[in-house]
Symmetry: none
Subunit: 146 residues, 2 copies
Amino acid sequence: MFTGWSIHALDAKGRLAIPARFRDVLRDEGDERLVLTTSERCLVAYPYNEWRAIADKVSRLSRVDPKVLAFRRYFISGATESLCDKQGRVLIPQPLRELAGLDGQVYLVGMQHNFEIWDKDRWYAEREQISANFGDLSSFMADLGI
Amino acid sequence: MFTGWSIHALDAKGRLAIPARFRDVLRDEGDERLVLTTSERCLVAYPYNEWRAIADKVSRLSRVDPKVLAFRRYFISGATESLCDKQGRVLIPQPLRELAGLDGQVYLVGMQHNFEIWDKDRWYAEREQISANFGDLSSFMADLGI
DNA sequence: AAGAGTTACCCCACATTTCCCCACTTATTA
DNA sequence: TAATAAGTGGGGAAATGTGGGGTAACTCTT
C-alpha cells in the first residue's frame, strides 16, 4: 500500500523522483510500470495493472453516450504510461504538469491503492478545504463505524 | 489504444503533428489512414476501419427521417480521409479548423478508440464544464469501483 | 482560354524534447 | 563516523516536432 507524504522537487526537465518506498510497492507487485492520470486538481499515479482494469472496463462502454464521453475526457484521456529511470524518476508530460500546476515543490501523497501528485500550494489549500467541511466527514466516518 | 494528451502547434499552413505514440497505434493496426470528423466543440480523428464501421451503419439508415438527416449533417458529412506526411503531420481542412476554433496551441486527447483535437482554451473550458456537472458521472464511477 | 494567385504536397534543415548515462550532494543506517 | 541508499543536476545522443522552400495542381478572374 502507498502511504505517507513526500516532498520532492520537479527538476527543470520535468522529472519527478518517486519515493523509494513507493517504488518498493511497485517492485513487490512485480510490475514497475506506472500510469499517470488526471484528477480534479492533482495527478494520480496507478500501478499499471490497477489502471488497466479500470481502462478496460471503460473501453467497453458506449462510444457515443455523452456521459461516457465526459467521463473518458475527464478521467481516462490523460492516462500516460511511464517507467522510472535508473534514478527512480518519471517524466511528467508537459500537459499534465500544466494541469496540476506543478513546479518546484511537489507533494506525493499515498492513497493506499494509488498515490497523488500535488503542487505544494494546492495541497495545502485542499487540506484547508477538507478541514472546513470537517463536520460532514465526522458523520461519514461515524456511519462507517470508525 | 489512444491515451494521453499532447500539445502541438498548428502551423501557418494548417498542418498538425500527430504524436508519435498515436501514429504507432495506427501503424500497429496496419492502416495509417486517418479520418477527421466534427463533433460538438472539437474534431475527432478515427482510424480508418473504426470510422468505416460507423459510416456503414449510418449509411443503412433512413434517407428521409429528419433525425437521421440531422445526424448525418452533423457528424458524418464533414468526414475527411487523410494521411500523415513524412514528418507525421496531417493537414486539417480549413472548414474543420474554423469549426473547432483551432489556432496556435492545440490539444490532442486520447479517447481509447479514437482521439480528439481541441483548441486549448476550449479544452480547459470543457473540463470545467464536466467538473461542474460531476454528479452525472458518479454512477460510472460507482460501477467501476472508483 | 490563359494567366495570376492560392492551396496542397513533397522535401530538407533546424530546434526541442526525451531518454540514457554518470557524478555529486544529502540523508539514513550500521 | 564510515558506508550505503536516496535524491538532484546536468551532458549527450536519438527521437520527435516545427518551420519553411519549391513545385505541381487547382481555382478564380479577366
